[in-house]
């Protein structure tokens, strides 16, 4: 008999615990979508209305744009010195956007940028963990876009995936998976490499511990990562 529930016989307590009705996963997701899509614009407006955020974001954007650093950072990849500036500039831009189509479009654009970064890292033969992290960032950016705009349209996912068209096949597939199923667990380790080579591009060697086999310079010596592009 519990202390606080001494008025309640154990059998009733147990039966009550059993009787709690849970939402189905579908219902949970359905209601979540209803709620989140209804509040998203309000949230942005509220954020926008916050003077401190607005001032900070505007100052950051103006500072970065006027210095020319942001432009130089545009092509920076994860791990490079200017990359943090690139991300800060993006965040500043997103923070000051009014809700609506422009905001949605920018967020999809940001996800496309992440996809392009992952593709470029793989193409340049970056380390597996860096590529894996970059694909994780694609996933996060897609989820961020969906939290504001709801599920992405086919046109939007295509727009993101197109930014990764230069990537080796396996990386492209991993990016595609991140874009189309951002809530699912990443498949095949980094998603950019793996022991199997079912793509027929000759890039997979099973030497995942020696970097990204999708990338030229690793396993790409034979048929080449270039062939996988």
């Amino acid at each position: 008999m519990s202390t606080d529930n001494d008025l309640m016989p154990d059998s009733v307590t147990e039966a009550l615990a059993r009787s709690s009705e849970r939402m189905t996963d579908d219902a949970h997701a359905r209601v979540r979508h209803t709620v989140m899509s209804s509040i998203r614009h309000d949230s942005r407006a509220r954020y926008f209305a916050s003077i401190s955020h607005r001032i900070a974001a505007t100052a950051a954007a103006i500072g970065l744009l006027s210095s020319g650093v942001a432009y130089a950072a545009d092509n920076a990849l994860p791990g490079q010195a200017l990359y943090e500036i690139k991300r800060a500039a993006e965040n500043a831009l997103v923070a000051i956007l009014p809700p609506g189509a422009l905001e949605n479009s920018v967020l999809v654009g940001v996800a496309g940028r992440r996809a392009e970064e992952a593709a470029n890292l793989a193409r340049d033969g970056a380390a597996d963990d860096l590529i894996s992290d970059a694909i994780g960032e694609v996933r996060a950016a897609v989820k961020a876009a969906e939290s504001v705009a709801g599920p992405l349209s086919g046109e939007e996912t295509t727009r993101i995936e197109e930014r990764a068209q230069d990537a080796p096949v396996q990386t492209r597939e991993a990016i595609s998976n991140a874009v189309n199923a951002p809530d699912s667990a990443p498949t095949g380790g980094t998603g950019a490499s793996g022991p199997s080579d079912t793509s027929g591009d000759g890039s997979g060697t099973g030497s995942g511990s020696q970097g990204n086999p999708d990338a030229p310079g690793n396993s790409g010596d034979t048929t080449g990562g270039a062939g996988a592009r």
């Binding site: 009733v12 039966a15 709690s20 939402m23 949970h28 709620v35």
Partner: protein
Amino acid sequence: MDRSASDPRKIARLVQRARKGDVVAFGHLYDEYADRVYAFLRTRTRTPHDAEDVTATVFLKAWESIRSYDERGLPFSAWLYRIARNAAVDEHRRNVRLPVPTEEPASEQAIDGPDEAVIAKVDTEKLRQAVRMLTEEQSSVIALRFWWDLSLKETAEAMGKNENAVKALQHRATRTLARMLQEDGRDEH
């Protein structure tokens, strides 16, 4: 979903962020509490679909008013329950279909004690139906104490009552449930 209480610090952080307009944090709060809100509303609505609709309403109302939520007052779960309870009342007024008793049912007649053997055999659906037949306050106590894991003190705060009143409600609810379930068990034999 794990019914055990979530880490209060985590909830406090999420609430703090949500109060500033952080949608993602509010989404996490939804994930934490949606099942409990739904379970409570399921006792006050006829169909799962109705419960889903009102659950959405509850979270939308919570979002609208979260800026005014004072974390030094009610626990967040108790605050959310109040919104759920009010939404359930509104829904019931709009859609009077279920005979929701507002007075104490005729179960006040003495019952020596619940027949635990009978109750233990009761399936969950029957018990849920029985909870739905309790008065609103009684079913609220059951929901808060056993589905929301609120303490006696928190339940009292959420319902705007003192602890003794909650104890009495819980006691009556138990006896009423026992009576209904015993009758149900007899009917089947």
